[in-house]
């Protein structure tokens, strides 16, 4: 059974996971959101058509997304070292987590923004709106419920990725499950981490649904 010492370990690992996931979610949106916007507005016929940029960006995003995360993790070790000074531990994990999530976020944002009716953009253009105004006053606000759901999905993905990073020494619930569950056959630890992960994922999804629902309902 779980004794106090293990419970303490579990709580600490949970905190580490939450810290890694939240930080990399925020950081990946910091870069992924603008990239997603660029992906949309530089597409053919859109408000800042730049076919060349659009193609290159799309290609890079696809290329990054086709590398499995576990390989990505290993490939990025030199870069992680450069940025974080080390490649093990929670802080170091944030580098590959963020980098892996950026292209994912860019695509999620792109999908959300593409759902907006072209007529709304056209109406704003007819009023003399600038590109920036259309982004900040039309695209993002109109897509808000869908963007919020995207954040939830990204966060949930990052929970999974962070567990993988944990296995190669990234800290958090992954590391805990690996050391105690896999190497020492402590099944209870294994199951405890699984339960905590399920609760985390459920919690994030519920929060996302709730927030998105609230925003959408206000407009209904």
């Amino acid at each position: 059974m779980l004794d106090a010492w293990l419970l303490d370990k579990l709580l600490f690992a949970t905190w580490e996971t939450i810290y890694m996931v939240l930080t990399s979610t925020v950081l990946s949106y910091l870069f992924g959101l603008p990239l997603g916007v660029i992906l949309v507005i530089t597409a053919k016929g859109h408000i800042m058509e730049r076919i060349g940029i659009n193609r290159v960006l799309g290609w890079v995003i696809n290329a990054t997304r086709s590398v499995p995360f576990i390989i990505f993790l290993i490939l990025l070790i030199p870069l992680t070292r450069l940025i974080a000074g080390t490649y093990i531990g929670t802080v170091a994990s944030i580098v590959p987590l963020t980098l892996a999530a950026i292209p994912f976020v860019a695509r999620m944002v792109e999908t959300s923004l593409k759902e907006i009716e072209w007529g709304l953009i056209e109406a704003a253009l007819s009023m003399g709106a600038s590109t920036w105004t259309i982004i900040s006053q039309v695209l993002l606000p109109e897509a808000k419920p869908s963007l919020i759901l995207g954040v939830a999905i990204t966060t949930i993905n990052l929970v999974g990725y962070s567990a993988m990073a944990g296995i190669v020494g990234g800290g958090g619930l992954g590391t805990l499950a690996y050391y105690y569950g896999y190497q020492r056959y402590e099944n209870s630890i294994m199951w405890a981490t699984v339960i905590v992960l399920i609760i985390l994922v459920q919690g994030v999804q519920m929060l996302g649904d709730n927030l998105a629902g609230k925003v959408a309902k206000k407009r209904r």
């Binding site: 009716e117 007529g119 709304l120 056209e122 109406a123 704003a124 253009l125 007819s126 009023m127 003399g128 709106a129 600038s130 105004t133 006053q137 039309v138 606000p141 109109e142 808000k144 206000k218 407009r219 209904r220």
Partner: protein, 343 residues
Amino acid sequence: MIKIKELSKVYLTPSQKITALDNVSLTVEKGEIFGIIGLSGAGKSTLIRCINMLEKPTMGSIVVDGQEITSLAKRELRTARQKIGMIFQHFNLLSSRTVFANVMFPLEIAKVPRPEAARRARELLELVGLADKEGAFPSQLSGGQKQRVGIARALANGPKLLLSDEATSALDPQTTRSILKLLRDINRKFNLTILLITHDMNVIKEICDRVAVIDNSHIVEVGEVLKVFASPSSPTARSFVNTVISREVPAELLHRSQVQNEQTHVKLIRVSFIGPSAGAPVISSMIRQFDIEANILYGNVDRIKDTPFGNLALELIGPPGVLQESMDYLRSRGLEIEVLNNA
């Protein structure tokens, strides 16, 4: 207000070249309500969207209020667009904003100071009869109410010109009438030029001063609405007029013999008249003056804007020479005559 010269628009799709507008020239005067009517795919939307450069013309010139629109730099174009309002078939209101905030949007774009903008937005909502809805979201409104918000939004920056792309096509007839009345009121109140496109001749009949008929990328007819209703010269215009007022004479009447005998001929004519002078008195005086028989086969009197407008089909029976004289008489009294059973 608008001078379009030799405007052409060609869409290049991967598979083909589509000429949506072919050498179109058109002038819209200040303060008038000008309608453009045409069948689906004729090029109406393309034409109206060229005027605020939502669509870039392939060739030609468009001058709006003395300013050549087609050669403006981006920033200048944005400023020019602030003075050209536009309303849409599907309203295109922002669902993330309340009614009030939707009307505020163009004012924010034009960087109007907030208190002044808010005052103006409330004024406009008052004007379109939605003062009590300012806190509502667009999804809570009916189609007609949404279009009213669209109109308030389009007027926010005090435009000189209002473009309307099928603004009533998604509305029921009664709501359409109320929106058209609002447009007419605004046109009078602000002396605002309105250019509207539609495929519904009722819209033209209801509020337009002049109309252009567009067919297959060409303008085939332009004129005063009354004139076009009375004597449409192109087949397209004729068929549009027929959708609103019945001008067609039943076919079996057309096939009746023209000649009863040497002395007595039968002429089937259509008489159109405009204005309060009306046709009936002229026709009865014709009958008194000439020794012929006249049967009214059908007739209707309608109103175009505020002017009575009538259509009669007459059968005139009498000697050929007298028939000719009596028709000349009708023409001399300002009636339009069209002989229907010409061999």
